[in-house]
Assembly symmetry: C2
Homo-oligomer: 292 residues x 2
């Protein structure tokens, strides 16, 4: 069994981006982070993204809005960044407080600055297999993990557990594309799926993105399969200083006995998401400085 | 075995639309058809759509452009219809001659007049399960056929043969939605799929949209399955006056012996496509006249 090391692969991408950014003649890319409230996980994610941007040489701006901010105030900030030519990409850290309309906020970002890939237009471009669009960072990171670990999807059966707009659907659309490293047969399963283990056990590549700790047990995995665990669940653990540990959607020990390759949690898909955000920011910068 | 009668179901929809249009207070919906060249199939499709529009009470305009039209001239006509407040929806008859960029033409139509559902924004809205968008007529027609023939997809396994932007992908996205009459487990197969019949024979609902006459044989179908045949293939037939007959992607006689329900070709999905175009046109009119 091989571990697919997301830390190492994301480090390689970050190193490549650092070199690419150093060679840019038109200036430096800049990512603007918008965070609302003081949710500790959001604070920590934005900090991590900000640190990675600076490591690469991408400039960054962070606006932390109070929990009480109105939709209009949020829109107004987005509009400012939309108009600011120095800003290449805009990231609104999810989740927003419940009184704000998250989808409306994502749609307010100009598609060409939507480095999160959540805008309606970028989802449409993904359907159209148009490389000009931005693909959401987690699904893009999953595809990159597969590619860089030498896992071809061509003619393989990819089973995706979860149909979210953020992971399940875009992963399915990516794996299905008529492109090198894609061309897979794709099945999407979810909470309403009947006979789930009969389906997952046909998967050459199994992508678990349902947010239920340890949901995928060993018997659900085909011997030799590649397992991508997207879940990042906090499970209470009194032996840890933090009081919890992070665990995936897959029972790792049992899966590791059957899989040919598997991603750990943490250190699998998670770091890739940050790396792909940076890749999207550099792409946005390049698109905005494209001649013509 | 029950025949799913697309002629009858589309007639019911057309009758409903006729009543709905008669009751509209803000005026009459209007669909603008753009046809390029004199391809006999295109001429016949547009004629059929035009006749159906008039039957419902939807106004129509037809511009037939010469085969030699330039992209700029086509765009200019689209722009005219985009700006014309009397035009609710615009349909560009596909296929366009090879010197024209079809995708660019579809994208030139305002999303709110894109009754064909091919615009990037409408594909994105489909991913987002946003009912404000327009769904392409053939996939929308397939869902309507299933609903009106009492075929619930909830927890069922839908296998889609074909991954086109026009049929395969949108059908998959629709069947997957968290909505009544959807909620299916969905597999998309295509030319690169390995072990195809092993997958199709798991389908509770099999949708064939690959454009190969008689490709789906009886042994590929699970006994009791519902079979939707999207193919409209012209096969040479010297016994017919026209010299050809229309046949689907499914070997109908063999499939009929195993399926619980099946659509014929012609008279299955085909007439539904026209009916759904009309439904989209009325929806466009309503959206454009929505208060606020």
């Amino acid at each position: 069994m091989d571990l697919i090391d997301g830390n190492q692969i994301s480090k390689a991408i970050i190193a490549e981006l650092k070199e690419e950014v150093a060679g840019l003649r038109e200036g430096k890319p800049c990512v603007a982070f918008i965070r609302v409230g003081e949710d500790p996980a959001s604070v920590s994610y934005v900090k991590k993204k900000d640190r990675t941007a600076r490591e690469i040489g991408i400039e960054s701006r962070l606006t932390a809005l109070p929990e009480s901010v109105t939709q209009e105030e949020l829109f107004s900030l987005i509009d400012t960044y939309n108009q600011d030519k120095a800003v290449s990409g805009i990231l609104i850290q999810s989740p927003l407080p419940p009184h704000l309309d998250e989808l409306a906020a994502f749609r307010r970002v100009l598609p060409e600055k939507d480095v999160d890939g959540f805008h309606t237009v970028n989802l449409g471009l993904l359907c159209q297999e148009d490389e000009d669009g931005f693909v959401a960072c987690t699904p893009a990171g999953i595809m990159e993990l597969l590619r860089r670990s030498g896992t071809s999807l061509e003619g393989k059966h990819v089973v995706v557990l979860g149909r979210s707009l953020i992971v399940g659907k875009p992963v399915a659309l990516l794996a299905l594309q008529k492109k090198e490293w894609a061309n897979a047969t794709v099945t999407v399963c979810h909470s309403r799926t009947a006979g789930l283990s009969g389906i997952t056990s046909q998967a050459d590549i199994l992508v678990a993105a349902i947010g239920k700790p340890g949901f995928v047990t060993g018997d659900m995995i085909k011997p030799g399969a590649v397992v991508i665990d997207v879940g990042i669940n906090r499970v209470p653990d009194s032996s840890r200083k933090s009081g919890y540990r992070l665990t995936g959607d897959v029972d790792f020990d049992a899966a590791a006995r059957r899989a040919s390759k598997i991603t750990p949690v943490p250190g699998g898909v998670g770091p890739m998401t940050v790396a792909m955000l940076m890749k999207n920011t550099v792409k946005a910068f390049r698109r905005q400085h494209r001649p013509g």
